[in-house]
Amino acid sequence: MTTELDSKQLDQLKEAEKLAFDNPSFFEQILDTTISICLGTPCNEFRLQYQCLSFIHKAFFEKKIGSFELRSQQSVKVIQLLDYLIIRNEERSPNYLIIQKCIDILNATYDLIFMQMVQNPNEDEWERLSDVRDYLLSQWPSSYPLQPYNPETDLSRSIACKTSLIKLMGKIIQVQLPASSSVNDIEHDISVSMIKSNHPFLLNSNLSSQAQNLLDNLFAVLNDDVLLPTGIFTTIMSTMMTLFKSRPKFLSNKFIMFILAYESQLKIEPRFEREEKLKMKLTKRFNDRVDKCLISILLNKGFLAKDPGLRTRFENKFNYLLDKARDERQRGILNVDDDDDDPEVKEIKKQKIEAIQRNNMLFYNESKIARSHDYKSIYNLIKPNDQLTEFDMSTIPTDILVSMVVTALQKVSVAKLVKGLTIVFDRYKDLTTNTDSAFQGLYIPSTNEGSLKRKRTDDDDKDGARTRMKTDVGNETSNEIDDAYSDDELKGEFLVPVPREFSFNNKKEHLGFIISNFIKLSAQKVKQNKSNLDSSMQQNALDKLAISSWNDESWVKILSRLATRGLANDELANCMRKSIFNYFKDDMRNRIDEVIEWLNEEYYSEIRDGTGIQPLRDGHYMTYCAFTLDNLIPFLESSDRKIFIRLMSELPYLDKSLISKIRSLCKDPVRSKLGFQSLLYLIMFRPPVLHDCLGLLTDMLNDTSSDDALKKECSTYLKKYSPQ
């Protein structure tokens, strides 16, 4: 509740804001004061903080401070504030509106700060900004800052923060990719092209590669099988339009082909929203309309003038969308029963749904954090607005309740029960160990942080056992250490019992825990160590280490080496291989780096004791290579060219059986280009498999089931690369 003092402060802030915008010579002073008030305001004083942020938002995001120079000079000051509100308050249930404003402010200042760093390098401040940027980017496309439910539902949650984040990604991409032409208009095109080669810390190549990854990430979300909410879809499209102009060489083709290929009908509805048929139908209708508007712009503004063939394809798509919309109107907007009439569409969606269900997403509310301190929050796995959540189970007589529970336990699958119990376990654990959501500390610069100590709060005194964490500043006396631990004091001598030896099943179970812990590590962002230790160590062959500092791929290195060289028991090693493969299988496209790392290790460990370079036909390398291709190829899209060619080029060994798996791609009219491109790549750059590739082309040419187009394509390649 706003107190009288708060409201007086709010009025003063509003007056200061007016003064700064009416008279920009006061801006610097008022900005400094506002930032220090915001930093000194506890996070639960939301309105005061919000008012401070609104001022900064108006100045930079809404450009109420018209002078580019003034905004640019002052931009670096917001880093400290963003660091405080986003990074330092990460664990303290951040306020949604505050976070949204912060993302917008970072978006509005990122290019300005970047320019300042180019002109006046300050590595510490840049590091701090990079941490904030990387933290926010790591949240995409989760429900941040809202607590998660499940990945598909979370796509439709926190839309405002997501759209702000997309715009921020657009800005980062724009700044970190080189400008197309010479920098004439600094205000509108700040980019890595401005970095001089002797800059102390800004490395053009690193920044560009991060930007390229971000761009790929946006396309990956667009190409994902799950239907995107219209707000997200249109925001990505709007961002792409901006980048289409400012950084055309990095995305033009991809963007244009995406617009042409987009088909909402082939997207699958988020798992827990499939029953909301009208909502899903409307989302598809809206996305199609946006696609139609983009096609119209490309057709009418001369983007396709140079390519009549492409223009015709766009005109056909445009007419198709018009017909589709007309049919939909004629059938009635509320008529949702006759969707997906086409059996082909049904089949494609069925396959996609099956692929997605492997992700083990079984409950709507899979959050590992309880939303409040009660049993309902701990055990609730269904939609929060489901009427069932209001039902009081204790009103059911015990015998009926018991038989309900027994029946449920008999019917539920083991996997589902385990998943549910694991979620409940995680919530308990979080509640009993995590920090309090109401942060009441003051901001202390990073060099002088307040210490964390456990202490009993008033609330705990009321309800008994629960202890919480609070952030305390300064020197607290030791008597505030939680006295709950006094129960654990050991009296007398105590001998630790000898542990029982693990049975094989125990070992298998614990190996499962180890694997899942390592896989969890894969999701964590690792800060790269910039020390020279790594390179200096590698110079001495005797000191060669696979992992001298932890990085994003270290986990897969450890797991794959454990599987190939670390486990004496074959069954356990195979169990580990299966787990690794199952993890990759869930999202093969985005985990291709790790897949390559792992298969290289399998290959190396197989051939290192032998003499030749050929792995065993039924060995682990060949088996899992085949599995990988079987699981990847059916789901490849034309846009996955890079990923697939990369896989085919970096797999250490290929033989006829593996190459023949490309046949299905070549035969698919929609993706045949991808198939032939990868064959062409192998022919040109992997001479050892040249004959196998030509063999496949010959087989397809002679295959009676091949159509004329396929035969023609095969014959073209054969004429060129095998004229005899």
Binding site: D104, I159, A160, S238, T242, L282, C293, I333
Partner: protein, 207 residues
């Protein structure tokens, strides 16, 4: 304009535009429409109508419509398309608006107009990359261009505006409630169920 009137009467800050090249009203015969430039005051439009066959204009409702419009605003205006000469009233007519695109919500009444507006926003994203960060929620509520449909359509638009502004106000008051933008798909679905004959469109644009 009926929707403009209804929304204005309900207390919303409103501006209205046409998306075509000129204002076309029925003329004395079917092949002689009255064509006016945007910005022509409604009083002048009325003067011209008064010089023509009043019986026809009374019968087709154009005369009443023009008189009603005089009470709403001075002249018809054209959507501020990117890079096209302005055909609108001076900013002093709209002190509540910071600029010509200062909208949180845009509602069109024909799919053709919706496409024009959305395409204009996308064009701005392309041509003015540094100026397009402010979100605007665009809707189309399909209304047939005749008097009775316009009355019903205006009420439907008012319903949508109320549902949106209530949800927005609630999200600012109750921080535990889902954020406003997350509720929009459900609001549209509920609204569509209540108005099955007016198919809706939606896009989140930026200017």
């Amino acid at each position: 304009m009926e929707a403009h009137k209804v929304l204005k009467d309900a207390g919303y800050t409103v501006r209205s535009y046409g998306t075509g090249t000129s204002v076309r009203l029925p003329g004395p015969t079917i092949d002689q429409p009255n064509v006016f430039e945007f910005g022509t005051p409604y009083t002048k439009i009325l003067e011209k109508l008064n010089t023509q066959d009043l019986k026809i204009h009374k019968a087709n409702g154009v005369l009443d419509m023009t008189k009603r419009n005089i009470g709403i605003k001075k002249a018809p205006e054209r959507w501020p398309y990117y890079n096209q000469p302005p055909q609108r009233l001076p900013p002093s007519e709209y002190p509540e608006f910071e600029n010509e695109l200062d909208f949180q919500v845009v509602i069109t009444c024909e799919e053709r107009c919706f496409d024009s507006v959305v395409e204009d926003y996308f064009s701005r994203n392309y041509f003015e990359p540094s100026q397009t960060q402010q979100p605007v929620h665009c809707f189309n509520v399909e209304i047939r261009d005749e008097h009775r449909s316009a009355l019903a359509g205006a009420q439907a638009i008012l319903d949508l505006a109320r549902m949106l502004s209530d949800a927005h106000a609630k999200s600012l008051q109750d921080f535990s409630a889902p954020p406003f933008e997350d509720k929009i798909p459900d609001i549209i679905t509920e609204w569509q169920q209540n108005h099955p004959v007016t198919p809706v469109l939606y896009a989140l644009c930026y200017h």
